[in-house]
């Protein structure tokens, strides 16, 4: 019998120098990590996602680098963008000239007020080691503060680029706070080149009656690993709407958790478009802590090759949270005989007057739909590709930024081999 060697990944990554700022939370995170190992398939919540390949890779902290981001700019957000390269703020690539007065959007290293926010915006749930790793070693990140009743008309663009040649790790950190009545749209994007490990942590506080729309786009490099944690609390009557689009990384895991106060609303939509040997895992947690909250969750996966998608949608309705309305739907398209989807709802309902619906469907393309398109002159391949595109693109239609919507449609076209069908975008 062989016993897996203990992972040295955590120790390796902690062996580098500790950044000097925020020493207290970093020491606390290091203490929690002491003696900890990476989760294995024997651990609850990790049975489908094997990190063995990760523990065998000798990651070191990512070196400084520059990147050409001209291809990643979005016209609506040229004056409201911050760019981070290998975890460090890139002032020459960033531009915040179009920010509305009063809105604070700056790198953490320039934000003294961020010190009070770290780890406090959203109360913690179970911490993954990747979140603690981030706290212990993040170099920089973004702080977004939207003052009371400010409704930002322009969306903000947060771009994390990683360029490495050897296995290296980055730890982007984002702190977002919307005061009462504030409103903001944010596009958070991850992209790069090389065999990196990125462990972003996003903490969000949505104030009373405030509204945050959050697009999260993961198009990391095909050899990269992306392990992200997001924690949000939504105060009374506030709204948090997010859409997470997973295209890249050979291995990725999303752990969003959202706590809803009275009458608060959340959308937690996701699309994963996977091929080859990609593994993309989403473990979400929606916590209806108080009465009359509403949540919608639509998780869509299109899985080709030997890829694997995992979805675990935990919804907890606290005993006090009467009048909760929670809807969850998981829809999955398998394009090959070797693709896999493991999807399960996890409902924990402790209140009695609640409306909770969930449904999961895993299937292939509908032969009647294929035939319908063929009967209009599309050959079999074009029909299949167009239907695959449609299955995935359904989720893109509600993206509020036009240029991003178009760019993503093109990306989905290319990934579903539908580009050959002409410019459908």
């Amino acid at each position: 019998m062989t016993v897996a060697a203990p992972s040295s990944l955590l120790a390796d990554l902690l062996s580098g120098p500790r950044p000097t700022e925020w020493e207290a939370p970093r020491l606390a995170a290091e203490a929690r990590l002491a003696g900890r190992e990476l989760p294995t398939p024997r651990d609850k919540g990790w049975q489908y996602t094997d990190l063995a390949s990760l523990s065998r890779t000798p990651f070191t902290p990512a070196p400084e680098a520059t990147a050409d981001i001209s291809g990643d700019l979005l016209p609506e957000m040229v004056g409201t963008r911050q760019v981070f390269v290998n975890g460090r703020y890139a002032p020459h690539a960033s531009c915040v000239s179009a920010l509305p007065p009063g809105l604070r959007f700056l790198p953490l290293t320039l934000a003294s007020e961020a010190c009070h926010c770290l780890g406090t915006l959203a109360p913690e749930t179970a911490r993954s080691p990747f979140e603690d790793l981030n706290t212990a070693r993040f170099e920089d990140g973004a702080l977004i503060l939207v003052p009371k009743n400010l409704r930002a008309t322009l969306p903000l663009h947060l771009l994390f680029v990683t360029r490495v040649e050897h296995p290296s790790a980055v730890f982007p950190r984002v702190l977002i706070r919307l005061e009462a009545g504030a409103e903001l749209s944010l596009v958070e994007e991850h992209t790069g080149q090389g065999p990196y490990l990125t462990c972003p942590v996003v903490e969000i506080q949505v104030g009373e009656g405030a509204i945050l729309r959050h697009e999260r786009i993961q198009r990391d490099h095909a050899t990269a690993v992306h392990m992200t944690t997001l924690r949000a609390t939504v105060a009374q009557g506030g709204q948090y709407h997010s859409r997470t689009l997973t295209f890249g990384a050979r291995l990725s895991r999303q752990e969003p958790s959202v706590r809803l106060a009275e009458g608060a609303e959340a959308t937690l939509d996701g699309l994963a478009l996977l091929g080859d040997g990609q593994v993309a895992d989403t473990h979400s947690f929606l916590h209806h802590a108080e009465p009359h909250g509403t949540s919608h969750q639509l998780h869509t996966c299109v899985v080709d090759g030997q890829a694997r998608a995992v979805f675990n949608g935990q919804i907890r309705v606290a005993p006090d949270a009467q009048g909760t309305d929670a809807q969850q739907k998981s829809r999955n398209l398998l394009l090959s005989g070797t693709a896999r989807v493991d999807t399960e709802p996890q409902l924990e309902i402790y209140a009695d007057d609640v409306k909770c619906t969930h449904g999961a469907a895993v299937g292939q393309l509908d032969p009647d739909e294929i035939f319908y398109l063929q009967s209009r002159g599309l050959d079999l391949e074009a029909a299949r590709n167009l239907l695959t595109y449609g299955f995935a693109a359904d989720l893109l239609e509600r993206i509020p930024v036009a240029s991003l919507r178009r760019a993503l449609r093109r990306l989905v076209l290319a990934r579903t081999h539908a580009s050959a069908l002409g410019d459908l975008a």
């Binding site: 509908d366 032969p367 009647d368 739909e369 035939f371 319908y372 398109l373 063929q374 009967s375 209009r376 002159g377 599309l378 050959d379 079999l380 074009a382 029909a383 167009l386 239907l387 595109y389 449609g390 299955f391 995935a392 693109a393 359904d394 239609e397 069908l421 002409g422 410019d423 459908l424």
Partner: protein, 254 residues
């Protein structure tokens, strides 16, 4: 144009078509009428190559070619079209993009120039006027959330875009009010050309007041029991189908 000889077909092993013979020449309009369940839709779907049906015997040639040698999409590009009784909804695929794609696939097959999005805009504008469709339907997903009548309108729009040589229209009038039926019937008549042909499948004779056939065939139990001219449709309107079936039964007189 279309020649059907002793065609038999089954679904899930159950015979549905039991020996159909039918000749359709350019310039002709034919109607197939018959009670529900008689095999009318099956005949149409077999002709356009629906994979659920198995052809068990007989031959069909379309423009001199053996139809069953051709994949459904090849049949479509060769000029065969069916407006379905129950069109499918396809979420996520914009109606306009789909129509342009279908148009360009056919143009490519015929060696004509494809249309870019702007050119297609002009082209489709004329077509949606023909079927009195609202522009907004172009931006919606193909048939998604369309009412029964809107789906039928969209089928005729597709026909207008593809300009098929032979169009099979299955129960065009179901889901349509009288005004919409007249609009779509007129559109179909305008699309008809001397080198085209139409096969109208209908349970109710009403639509044949707008799209007027020269030939009427009564299908029942998977067989064509009676053939006649336009007068037969009027007779069916007055007397129903039972008498045709009785007349054709063994012992009945012909």
């Amino acid at each position: 144009m279309l020649s059907i000889k002793n065609l038999t077909a089954s679904i899930n092993g159950t015979p549905v078509l039991k020996g159909i013979d039918l000749e359709i020449k350019a310039g002709e309009i034919h109607a197939i009428m018959g009670p529900n369940g008689s095999g009318k839709s099956t005949l149409g779907k077999v002709l356009v190559g629906h994979p659920a049906y198995e052809v068990t015997g007989g031959t069909v040639t379309f423009e001199g070619k053996n139809l069953f040698d051709l994949e459904p999409d090849v049949r479509a590009r060769a000029g065969l079209f069916m407006g379905f009784q129950h069109p499918i909804e396809v979420p996520g695929v914009s109606n306009a993009a789909f129509l342009r794609l279908a148009y360009n696939k056919k143009a490519e097959a015929e060696g004509r120039d494809e249309l870019d999005p702007l050119e297609f805009d002009d082209f489709i504008h004329e077509k949606i006027k023909l079927v009195s469709m609202k522009e907004a339907f172009l931006d919606r997903s193909l048939n998604e959330g369309f009412s029964g009548g809107e789906k039928k309108r969209n089928e005729i729009l597709q026909m207008a875009v593809l300009e098929p040589k032979l169009a099979i229209l299955d129960e065009l009038d179901s889901g349509l009010d009288i005004d919409a039926l007249r609009v779509l019937g007129d559109a179909v008549n305008k699309l008809m050309r001397p080198d085209h042909a139409l096969l109208v499948i209908t349970h109710f004779p009403r639509i044949l007041e707008t799209i007027r056939p020269q030939f009427v065939h009564v299908l029942s139990g998977g067989r064509i029991l009676k053939q006649g001219g336009p007068g037969l449709a009027i007779e069916l309107e007055e007397r129903g189908y039972d008498w045709v079936v009785e007349e054709a039964a063994p012992g009945g007189h012909r």
